[in-house]
Subunit: 574 residues, 2 copies
């Protein structure tokens, strides 16, 4: 591609409405342009990257035995009513009416359509297992689309669905997909982690997210420093401490704390170390048979944070988790938040595993402006349950049993689920089993955010000059920058020959044939993140040399003009 016949569309200034670096660089490098909030046009350079990502995803899905098909973007409401999601799904589901006023949705996902398809086309266990996938445009009407294509309203997903007679068979395909996803992210050249994840609103039991690691990532991931274990922080188990709880050595004693409404203030004004105190959070309990909700106390060590997902899974706690209103707390306890504690509390108490090994600790006295010191479990608080309800912290032992946990940030770009029968049961998707009985199929689903990967790759690979593409998804393998070509007699032919030679060798080459100053051209190629730039200049040509610059290492290599094309081809492909 010659820049003179291309739309490079690079920008010098950082657009003011772009908050994160990938969004800024995608605009500046001429990869995308905004059409409306959350809606983007992919420029030629952006589309080249998108297609390379898409092709790698497709190739690995095919290798893993998944079969590609294509479902419509516009989906009839009745299928969503069958699954129950027409009501459940929030306003992210863009609902529309056609000219005959019939209701449809623009698909954010395709569980309903694929389940409808398979229940009609697959009738026998002999046709199972079956894994189908598509690469399709999805629509989510985000309340606040942001970060460019990272959270757009229209985006490209690869979504796959598998159908099975048994959970064992599902588990097997799930592992095949897990491996295929690892292959995909390896081939994309990205630093990634598969992490144990929550199944959320999609449903199902087992689930993994695939994260591209980047400091700017929205998610926190916990890793073992000694094994492959990795989990989304919301799912990582905080093991029970191995040390025994010390014996009680102090008396329970109240002390006035008029200036402490938080763990931080307790430390500042009264010298209580956070890990020597506990905090008590009051939430609503699970409804009883009369649909009445009582209160439940959650007790954590002062330096720990509540993990809402873990707490709301406890049978005593209402789900989704809801913090109790102050008036309900005051009515039940007689004290306000800031002076609460487990002693003398007449409601169910759930104590975090780590808080449970404390002895002689500090907590609110359930009287405004007063705390107790010297609290001891069992002696001072009799009825309580122990559970894992906190977020892990760095240094916690890994739940896998090996090493301790570290925390990194990641961008979720893939998610695989063992769905089970959530959709197949609601939509009556069954097959005849070997014994001739109708049996509901069990399902898996497997998504990859194809367009989001483009942004995530930039978040992970950039510097002050621009993007640093991993070779497999770079818009061009190589840029040719001839210096002051239009003033030279020999450079035009030499550049042209190299361009043809490199294209014939199968490389994607951008030939910058603009009448621009070399500095402008270098800056554009660095901004666009082309992995190699071949510089052709008079001085080097005097010695029959051309210079190859590596965008990643900054390294410069002098090549003989005659063998340059073949050497570069070997280097790029190797």
């Amino acid at each position: 591609m010659r820049t003179s016949q291309y739309i490079l569309a690079t920008l010098k200034e950082t657009p003011s409405d772009a908050e994160i670096v990938s969004h800024q660089l995608m605009l500046r490098a001429g990869m995308i342009r905004r059409v409306a909030s959350g809606l983007y046009t992919w420029l030629p350079s952006g589309l080249r990257v998108l297609k390379k990502v898409e092709n790698i995803v497709r190739e690995e899905m095919d290798k893993a035995g998944a079969i590609e098909m294509l479902m419509p973007i516009i989906q009839p409401a009745d299928l969503w009513e069958e699954s129950g999601r027409w009501e459940q799904f929030g306003p992210e589901l863009l609902r529309i009416n056609d000219r005959h006023n019939r209701p449809f949705a623009l698909g954010p996902t395709h569980e309903e359509v694929i389940t409808d398809f398979v229940r009609k086309e697959v009738s026998s266990y002999k046709q199972l297992p079956l894994t189908l996938y598509q690469v399709q445009t999805k629509v989510r009407d985000e309340v606040r689309p942001r970060f460019g294509v990272m959270r757009a309203r229209e985006f490209t997903m690869k979504d796959a669905y598998s159908f099975h007679l048994s959970d064992e068979c599902l588990e097997k395909t799930y592992q095949v997909m897990h491996k295929a996803y690892c292959n995909i992210f390896e081939r994309l050249g990205l630093d990634y982690r598969p992490v144990i994840a929550d199944t959320g609103s999609i449903g199902g039991s087992v689930s993994h997210e695939f994260h591209v690691l980047a400091e700017s990532g929205e998610d926190a991931i916990a890793f073992s420093d000694a094994s492959d274990y990795a989990a989304n922080i919301e799912k990582a188990e905080a093991l029970a401490p191995t040390e025994e709880r010390p014996a009680a050595s102090k008396e329970l004693k109240a002390f006035p704390t008029p200036d402490a409404k938080s763990i931080a203030e307790l430390k500042e004004h009264y010298g209580v170390k956070p890990h020597r105190g506990v905090k008590t959070l009051i939430v609503y309990g699970a409804p009883d048979e009369n649909e009445q909700r009582g209160l439940v106390a959650l007790v954590l060590r002062g330096d720990h944070e509540l993990n809402e997902l873990k707490a709301e899974k406890h049978p005593l706690v209402d789900s989704p988790l809801e913090m109790a209103k102050e008036e309900d707390i005051v009515a039940a306890i007689g004290a306000k938040p800031g002076s609460l504690g487990p002693v003398g509390l007449s409601m169910p108490i759930i104590v975090d595993r780590t808080a449970n090994v404390l002895a002689d600790f500090v907590a609110g006295a359930n009287k405004d402006g007063e705390h107790f010191s010297g609290i001891n479990w069992d002696r001072d608080v009799e009825n309580y349950e122990v559970a894992d309800i906190r977020n892990i912290v760095e240094g916690d032992p890994s739940p896998c049993g090996q090493g301790s946990l570290q925390i990194k940030r990641g961008i979720e770009v893939g998610h695989i689920f063992q769905l089970g029968t959530k959709y197949s049961e609601a939509m009556k998707a069954g097959v005849l089993s070997e014994t001739g009985k109708n049996q509901v199929m069990t399902m898996g689903c497997y998504g990859i955010g194809v367009s989001r990967i483009v942004a995530a790759a930039i978040e992970q690979n950039n510097d002050q000059y621009g993007i640093k593409w991993p070779q497999p998804i770079a818009p061009f393998d190589l840029a040719i920058v001839p210096m002051n070509m239009h003033k030279s007699h020999r450079i035009p032919d030499i550049a042209d020959n190299l361009y043809k030679g490199l294209k014939d060798a199968g490389l994607d080459v951008l030939f910058d044939d603009r009448k621009e100053r070399p500095g402008v051209m270098f800056n554009d190629m660095e901004l666009l993140g082309v992995p190699f730039t071949l510089v052709i200049g008079e001085r080097n040509l005097d010695e029959n040399k051309v210079e190859l610059k590596n965008r990643h290492t900054g390294e410069k290599l002098m090549l003989d003009l005659d063998s340059a094309a073949s050497e570069i081809a070997a280097l790029v492909k190797g």
Copy 2:
């Protein structure tokens, strides 16, 4: 691909809701399934064909210098308001509101989005000409979606747009695109014609449609039998007859025709040959300065048909053309349709060129139940204009001056336009010209119905057994059908080796490894239209042979087992 790990989904019965053969065969061959009216899922076999078509289109567009990008499906209403089409476009434009109640449309075409893009990104004549294209899902909310993917609501289009400083430059790119389209349809292996076309609601001056020829086509196309000339019948000019009008030889005479209200009845009951009479159609005239519309008479030879498009382009006639209501006719003339004629008519009269060379002809007497014979122009009708207002008929001289016209039927699968400044002017898309002035760009646009081509190819290539794919777009190049494999000791290994050998040779192979009777397998492969079937059977293997069947010619070829793979690869690729 092994059928046991694939979704073949062939049907024995012809679905009752499919009216045309391509729709029937796409359902029966397991290529598509209906999700809702005009919305389809593409099954693996269908998607394979769609992707092959798409790739050929993409390769030829790239070769022609067009640059691929991707615009969003969801388009903001304000761009459509700028171009004026938010109001003009009918209910085919699917208008939606997002969660914030802002208006959008699902794009049936992208002139507005691309013009907005180019006016922001292109500022200088130096960046022109520029041709951009995309392969994207389009939405048209058809009032009555039908014929499967031939007229669906969601479909795949390739749409390209070119931008220029001058009409000469546009003309040049238009020719390049015309040639690229010819290359595309050649490579697809389809019998097609580029035909001169009307620009319709898209606007512009020059336009060509590309038709796949098929008896079931909705459009009639006129061809010269001696040149390349071809035009949509609505655009084909009916030349003025070269023969002179004979001199009048008869007297004007009224005769009663109580039983004739049509040309056919005039022939049946009174022996008037259709080409010796004229028919007179009354339409509304162009509005005058007070927005009042009078009536206009259109006179055609009895055996000819009105061409509405030609008529409505006449300055005297209102556009779009509207037939006058009977009460308006009776009020103005005093007679009903069926007895109308040009004699004594007090309204503008437009006479078709061919009707104008008649002498001594018959027409209604503008009195119910009465006709005149012996009518002669000028003598009996003084004020009239002559124009080409009829459809051509087979045998008419070709407007190109060579040969005479024939009529065939076609399916429109491509359309190219010289748009001019319709959109760029409305949306103020200008660049700085060489002299430093702001100049509105002139535009071309170039569409191909990618998904429609799949259906059109079937309409052109089928027989009673199923589809007969042209090799370049067949879902598979070859099917391997081993007969009674599961009862044989040697066939499984031999079939497997051939499968691997043919795949390694780069062919798309479908290996039918089902436990089905050979007849069932042959029928499925014929229905699916795979160009070659390799049959492996015990009897032939005794002589170390396998049999290759050609779906198109029916020919059977005996091949040596050892060289079969290489011979087939050469045959298919050659």
